[in-house]
Amino acid sequence: MIRFFKRKPSNHPDFWKKYEALFQVKPPEYVGDNRFVILDTEATGFDFKKDRVLCIGAVSLQSNVIDISEVFEIYIEQEKFNPETVKIHGIIKNDKVKTFTEEEALVQFLDYIGNSVLVAHHANFDITMINQMLKRLRLPKLKNRVLDTMTLYRATRINSNLIDRDKNYSLDQVAENLNISVKDRHTAAGDAMITAIAFLKILTKLNKKEKGKLKDLFRVR
């Protein structure tokens, strides 16, 4: 076989190789057999280049159960003090929470997510921020498939001309409409938990739980 492009010999670190290898297996066909990781990030702002991730929170979901002993919550060291991030610093300082470097955080994060399907609200933001972290370590982008609860939620609204189909729904609006309490808004783990409950409720509404096929979820728009 002729190879047109010579692949560079991978000089990626072991943790990446291990992560990458997981994607050689095909994901299970049914929704109920898959592991989902629902995540949220807190960042210093909305600029993909300049801003940094302060905290990643995530919960894992398998067959309708969220295991609290498997909650992921990590705080990342900041190079310089940024007044925007006082709240998070407050958490770290007051609760004496351990912080990690970007690299340490990514090692743990990749190990946690494995080849699970990632779920987030307005997922593009969180995924891009994490990809930027990877880029700074000269690593490729995340390989996981991603679902956005915003898109999924929109599909549960009835198909009517009275509703603006292109409307964007914030996590607060989704939570209000699905009757989810929003006590932990704006902590990464808390938002991830709210998103996870929303995700479960949306799956029920779309009738895609258990026996639904995973690939159908990616077709929702």
């Binding site: 309708n64 609290i68 919550e73 004496k96 929470v97 351990k98 609204r157 009835i158 509703i163 009757n179």
Partner: protein
């Protein structure tokens, strides 16, 4: 010291510590338990565990939602208990190493915390009070063998689930733990004020926790009202004393007999059952009647007194019970829908009252809460979506948005309250909290003018939703003005009537070419028959259109509309009467289906219908297509049909 943080475990610990037995645990123990919790999401009707299954490695605490505990004996299924927020279930078998003696099934969409028994057991061993709680909890089985065994509370709240009828009188009476009390030297006027603030019929007179006497409505009537004593006389002058006391565990039958014997309406529950120990609760005749009777008058009274969403919700459960009875006894649909309307109406009014009370200030203007759709037509039997809107009095422009903001805030509370009771949010946001449907009187008039003078498809759809409104709360003057405005606009408005007519025909006959039922071809309800879209909506639309042509105000019910039409157009009397019959038959059919499947009854699985039911339905459809024919001719609709 540095540690890793688990925000979610902390929140779960915060939740658990509000309920026994977790309330007595130390923070680190709680956090340990919370850290091992598995959050389980279950949709309505899911089985958490089944009778005779081997015990899971975990027990459950309800975080959100409700779970029915059921036991099946000789094919008879009895609901023994309902667990809601904070209740524990499925724990005893894990200690006793037995299989489950009953099944746990979710009543509604629920979130449960599953707590592994392995993390819980060591803590029980270390903590005397937790152990004590569990022993008391399990021991209460001896009286009513199964009913309380999985329950997580030591005392139950005043209002509870419907009990099985046979054993009812022998069940322990439920008493109100929150005692309204005063001292013996308090002036009667002050005591009376406390009674009316708390909507109770009696107040306990207490000294050092010991009940001295009781002051009831009757005492005030017989002493103050007829002038025997002045209004500021001390309570001790007119109170009834001594108080009739019993220990807790008193059965309903005993309580009733005691009340009759002493000709009293209240019994005090004390620690040892004598008037010399601490008062712990009050049983009133009213509470017994309410817990016993599912009769509409009692239920309305209970709704009006309800001070908690939870109470309203449990009353809703009993209303459903009542509805089931009506349907089984074949009570005429006209009566059933009127009674159900009144009960729904009372519930909505109560929710509104409570929402207003929770606002920081009283409403700034006159306003009205309008129920739309099926509740507006007095046809809502089962829980369906809530559709509602607010109209408020016109105010000067500079304070209009401020006024609207007030009503939106009020609507948010009311919409949420209704949702918690079981009226789902409207998928199309057709709710008063939506700024589009929270308008001033002249904004509403303008809105209807826009809809009716430029009737496109959407405008017609909105019209048909908003035409069937009924005032649930507030000032009828405002809604009448809207109605008058609509009639003015529809007068000789041929364009509008034709558009409304073609929309009434938008759902063609529910039967296919070979007279088979047409079922849904895609979506969540694939292969189900959509009763609402294909049969109920066409007949409702037809009734609305025809009655609007005659400018009849204040008849919103479809069956009643057709009865009125039969009167107005004798030449079509026969058809209209059969339409009226059809409307009632379809509504009954939907209710039966809904009760059977515990849903809105909208979608029907055809295989579950008997031959007779199918024939009945087809007969209804025939009437639907006949009245559609009439509309076609009368309003000269021919395009696209």
């Amino acid at each position: 010291m540095q540690k890793t943080k688990n925000t979610i475990a902390e929140r779960i610990a915060d939740f658990l510590k509000r309920f026994p037995p977790f309330e007595v645990l130390k923070p680190d123990q709680l956090l340990e338990i919370a850290g091992g919790v598995k959050v389980v999401y279950a949709q309505k009707g899911e089985t958490i565990f089944k009778q005779d299954d081997t015990g899971h490695s975990q027990f459950y605490v309800v975080h959100k939602g409700a779970v029915s505990i059921q036991r099946k004996d000789d094919e008879v299924v009895a609901t023994l208990d309902k667990c809601d927020e904070g209740d524990i279930f499925g724990l005893r078998p894990l200690f006793a190493h037995e299989n489950y003696m009953m099944s746990a099934i979710t009543d509604e969409e629920s979130i449960l915390y599953a707590i592994p028994i392995d993390t819980f057991k060591p803590i029980v061993k270390k903590n005397y009070r937790v152990g004590q709680f569990l022993i008391e909890n399990f021991a209460s089985n001896t009286e009513t063998p199964y009913s309380r065994e999985h329950r997580g509370k030591l005392y139950s709240d005043e209002e509870m689930v419907q009990n099985t009828a046979e054993l009812y009188e022998l069940q322990p009476v439920r008493y109100v733990k929150k005692i309204i009390s005063c001292s013996k030297d308090e002036p009667v006027s002050k005591a009376a004020k406390m009674m009316s603030e708390n909507s109770v019929g009696s107040i306990l007179v207490i000294e050092n926790d010991i009940p001295l006497g009781i002051l009831t409505d009757k005492d005030i009537r017989n002493n103050i009202a007829i002038g025997l004593f002045p209004i500021d006389a001390p309570v001790k002058e007119i109170m009834s004393s001594p108080v009739i006391c019993y220990p807790k565990g008193l059965t309903i039958a005993q309580a009733q007999v005691a009340m009759m014997k002493h000709k009293i309406s209240h019994i005090c529950i004390t620690k040892d059952g004598t008037p010399h120990s601490k008062a712990i609760g009050i049983v009133s005749e009213h509470d017994i009647v309410v817990s016993q009777g599912n009769n509409p008058a009692v239920l309305v009274k209970a709704i009006q007194r309800a001070n908690k969403t939870k109470t309203l919700k449990s009353i809703r459960g009993r209303i459903m019970h009542l509805l089931n009875g009506f349907i089984q006894q074949d009570i005429p649909m006209t009566h059933v829908s009127r009674i159900m309307f009144e009960l729904n109406d009372a519930t909505i009014k109560r929710v509104l009252e409570r929402s207003i009370k929770k606002m920081p200030s009283p409403p700034p203007t006159r306003f009205a809460w309008m129920s739309l759709g099926s509740q507006g037509r007095k046809e809502q039997l089962l829980h369906t979506d809530q559709d509602n809107a607010i109209v408020f009095e016109d105010v000067p422009d500079n304070i209009k948005e401020e006024t609207r903001a007030y009503y939106i805030q009020l609507a948010k509370k009311a919409n949420k309250g209704l949702n918690n009771i079981g009226y789902d949010y409207c998928n199309a946001d057709m709710m008063a909290r939506n700024p589009k449907w929270c308008l001033s009187l002249s904004e509403w008039k303008e809105q209807f003018t826009n809809w009716m003078t430029q009737p496109g498809d959407d405008e017609i759809l909105l019209c048909s939703i908003f035409f069937d409104y009924d005032i649930s709360y507030g000032d009828i003057e405002l809604t009448n003005q809207i109605a008058d405005h609509i009639f003015e606009l529809s007068d000789n408005n041929q364009l509008f009537l034709t558009a409304l007519a073609s929309s009434a025909l938008r759902n063609p006959s529910p039967l296919g070419f070979f007279r088979q039922f047409l079922v849904e071809s895609n979506g969540e309800y694939k292969d189900f028959f959509d009763l609402k879209k294909r049969a109920i909506m066409p007949i409702t639309d037809a009734g609305r259109l025809l009655i609007l042509q005659h400018k009849i105000k204040n008849i919103n019910n479809t069956a009643e509309r057709f009865e009125k039409l039969a009167e107005l157009e004798p030449q079509n009397k026969e058809l209209y009467l059969s339409c009226s019959y059809t409307a009632k038959a379809l509504s009954k059919f939907r209710t039966k289906q809904g009760l059977l499947h515990n849903d809105t009854g909208r979608f029907i699985e055809l295989d579950t219908l008997s031959k007779e039911e199918k024939i009945k339905l087809k007969r209804c459809f025939k009437t639907v297509s006949e009245v559609q024919e009439l509309i076609k001719l009368r309003f000269k609709v021919h395009s696209f049909i």
